[in-house]
């Protein structure tokens, strides 16, 4: 337990700040459409060329080999510099890459990790199915071994950015175990293989961010299996632990910045009688609570970094941070549109704060619904019995 301010960390932050000032794209990130893949990959490539990609990834795969704390400092500086959302690079950078680092063989790591960092490939996730949402282990996308290939048939759904993706973390049922989580395989799917069809799904914010993916005799090389045929469940748990544990850290920094901004807005804006919004005691109390809760989220994140520095991948405790952050995001985003009042009605108004509020409803569904997060905390952190 220490707040020791080390000169090298301060230097790291200074260097990050300087680089970001000169390199953050001036133009806004385009809405989800044809231009977004190029924009997101170009920004990733720029970070790589500047030496800022994969800060905590191993050096041999193009990373910097630094600490999670430095990664966090980088996220903080990105948030302060107004750097764009990671977008279509989210899956590759935040959980496919870390899963490969933790679980894949040398060939897969050497091929994929540098490409992810250089902004050459986009990844998506293929976990949920129409019949397997929160009950992920009941998934039924079928895979039959044929020689040195896995022949895959069936469907995935809620796949973010599938139409922009080159590769996919795919969970396939390849065996019949006694328990549902046995006989599942985690495999790298090439989205351009024959038989893969993507149908985008528009979300309530109006963007086609999700997709259904259909598989019709898709032949995936068995060399792409991570963690062994039929042993993919624990790999999937690694993926989810990275997604929940470290994937949202930048969002959390940005949320605290956003609340600071809301305090300013409440000081500047007046109601129709000319009273400052911050002088409304009820509103001020909610603002103060949100600000305090963002401070707590920061502390939880730092504690999680401290725990993760002492082990190879995030543990079930990360669900506490994820759950708290997701529900807090919804409260903050609602408060923002209330501050705007009827200025929140127009589509795309005020830097899309209303759309961001709508988007916050995804936070307690994606990466495990909040009910599942509470099950994980109850059963794996507190050791309570399974049940219904």
């Amino acid at each position: 337990m220490d707040l020791g301010l080390t000169p090298d960390l301060r230097d790291f932050r200074e260097a990050a700040r300087t680089w970001l000032e000169e390199n953050v794209p001036r133009e806004p990130r385009p809405l989800l459409g044809p231009g977004v893949r190029d924009f997101d990959l170009a920004w990733q490539r720029r970070q790589f060329d500047g030496g800022w990609a994969g800060i905590s990834w191993p050096v041999e795969y193009g990373g910097r080999g630094l600490t999670l704390l430095q990664q966090m400092v980088w996220f903080e500086e990105m948030a302060w510099a107004g750097a764009p959302y990671i977008g279509v690079c989210f899956v590759g950078i935040n959980h496919a890459g870390p899963t490969l680092i933790a679980r894949a063989n040398e060939e897969l790591k050497a091929f994929h990790l540098p490409r992810i960092l250089r902004g050459e490939t986009v990844w998506c996730q293929g976990f949920s199915e129409p019949g397997a949402g929160s009950d992920l282990a009941s998934l039924s996308l079928r895979g039959e071994v044929d020689g040195d290939h896995l022949v895959v048939n069936g469907q995935k759904i809620w796949t973010s950015f599938a139409q922009f993706a080159d590769y996919q973390e795919l969970l396939v049922r390849t065996g019949r175990g006694e328990k549902a989580h046995q006989g599942i395989t985690w495999i790298v799917n090439d989205m351009r293989l024959p038989g893969v069809t993507v149908r985008p799904v528009t979300t309530m914010t109006g963007e086609p961010e999700l997709a259904e993916v259909f598989y019709d005799d898709v032949r995936i090389p068995l060399a792409n299996v991570v963690g062994g045929l039929g042993d993919g469940w624990s790999v999937a748990m690694s993926t989810l632990s990275f997604e929940r544990g470290t994937g949202f850290m930048k969002d959390q920094v940005e949320l605290a910045r956003f609340v600071d901004e809301l305090v300013e807005v409440a000081r500047d804006r007046t109601d129709r009688r000319g009273r400052r919004l911050v002088d409304d005691a009820a509103l001020a109390a909610r603002l103060a609570t949100c600000r305090a809760e963002c401070a707590a989220l920061r502390a939880m994140t730092l504690a999680e970094i401290g725990r993760n520095a002492r082990r190879s991948q995030p543990g079930p405790e990360s669900s506490m941070m994820r759950l708290f952050g997701a529900e807090l995001t919804q409260r903050v985003r609602r408060l923002a549109v209330e501050l705007l009042g009827d200025d929140s009605l127009a589509a795309g108004a005020e830097r899309r704060w209303t759309e961001e509020w709508l988007y916050s409803y995804a936070n307690t569904i994606a990466a495990g619904a909040k009910d599942i997060q509470r099950n994980i905390i109850g059963e794996r952190v507190l050791g309570m019995p399974k049940g219904r």
Binding site: M1, D2, R374
Partner: protein, 338 residues
């Protein structure tokens, strides 16, 4: 490279575990539960052991008989005091050590560090004037901590005129009159900030204790032929206890470290910690009673002690309105170093 790290190291963890063992030996919850209404709340054996273990001087420099550690270590200690709802003038005494050291009264600081002086907290009464203490009969000196000033009075300057039974069995309410000048004064908000962090630490300890008490109970209590904890409604309430305990506990540690290091973000962190910990402790204590059902509502169980202490602590030092004002007024600070 180190930098910010909220995980206690070996020495820090041993301070907490030694405190927990001492409290378990001398002042477990059951002692408080069995305490007679007019009996002294402070356990002399615990106080003596606390002095010997150096609790009162953890934060004081070594030349004053302290351990040369800081508010982070004190926060760990006060989490343990909160966890077991330990009664006695620990907060006033530790804060008085800060005040004495800040005022350059080294002899007094050293005396406090050894545990030879028990200092109670004195709070101004808003309506009607005068002062009130939660430590009547427990202390030989009195510390008043306001938003901008702290003052220490010896026994001759404070008269406790009347004691009243308190809802919290671990406190002794006294109406007090200040009749003489303080022996020392410290200007500025620092003592209120430190005190708030230590109040928050006790509240965070209550969060952890109610999480643990609930979790242990619902694992063994069966209804409908299954442990209560296997039912999602109960499991999820316990999960929320865990989340709120984590949030309060980590924020308290971050606030303590930031305040000690004079970091710019301390102005936001300390009132945030105090505000959030009170909310989480009160909700945690309430959920813990709910998880126990009717037995949780009885005086025969210990669950009510957490609720009553959370309530007492939530009234100490600064009001919720003052804390919210401090949270909103804290400047937006761009991180340095870390």
């Amino acid at each position: 490279m180190t930098g910010v790290d909220l995980i206690p190291d070996e020495t820090q963890a041993s301070i907490a575990s030694a405190a927990r063992a001492a409290i378990g030996q001398h002042a477990p919850l059951e002692r408080l539960q069995a305490l007679a209404p007019a009996a002294p709340v402070t356990d002399d054996g615990l106080w003596k052991l606390a002095g010997a273990q150096g609790w009162f001087g953890l934060h004081l420099p070594e030349q004053l008989g302290g351990a040369g550690l800081g508010l982070g270590e004190l926060a760990l200690l006060f989490q343990e005091l909160g966890r077991a709802v330990v009664p006695g003038p620990f907060l006033g005494t530790v804060l008085a050590g800060y005040a004495a050291a800040a005022a350059g009264q080294d002899g007094l600081a050293a005396e406090i560090a050894e545990g030879r002086m028990r200092v109670g907290l004195l709070e101004p009464v808003v309506v009607g004037g005068g002062a009130r203490t939660l430590d009547a009969g427990e202390a030989a000196a009195w510390l008043m901590v306001g938003p901008d000033r702290a003052a220490l009075y010896d026994d001759s300057a404070v008269t406790v005129t009347r004691t009243t039974a308190a809802v919290d069995p671990g406190i002794r309410l006294g109406d007090a009159a200040v009749t003489g000048p303080p022996v020392l004064e410290v200007g500025g908000p620092r003592l209120a900030a430190i005190g708030s962090v230590l109040v928050a630490a006790q509240l965070a300890g209550i969060c952890a204790a109610t999480r643990d008490q609930s979790t242990a109970y619902v694992k063994v209590r069966h209804q409908f032929g299954a442990p209560l904890g296997s039912f999602q409604a109960v499991k999820h309430r316990c999960a929320d206890l865990a989340v709120r305990a984590e949030a309060a506990g980590q924020l308290v540690l971050l606030a303590a470290l930031a305040l000690d290091a004079d970091r710019a973000d301390a102005d936001l962190l300390w009132p945030s910690a105090r505000l959030l910990a009170a909310d989480h402790a009160l909700r945690g204590a309430g959920d813990n009673i709910q998880n126990h059902g009717a037995i949780g509502f009885t005086a025969e169980h210990t669950a009510h002690l957490f609720l009553k202490r959370a309530h007492s602590l939530a009234t100490l030092l600064l009001t919720p309105a003052e804390l919210r004002g401090a949270v909103l007024a804290a400047p937006t600070t761009r991180p340095v170093g870390d």
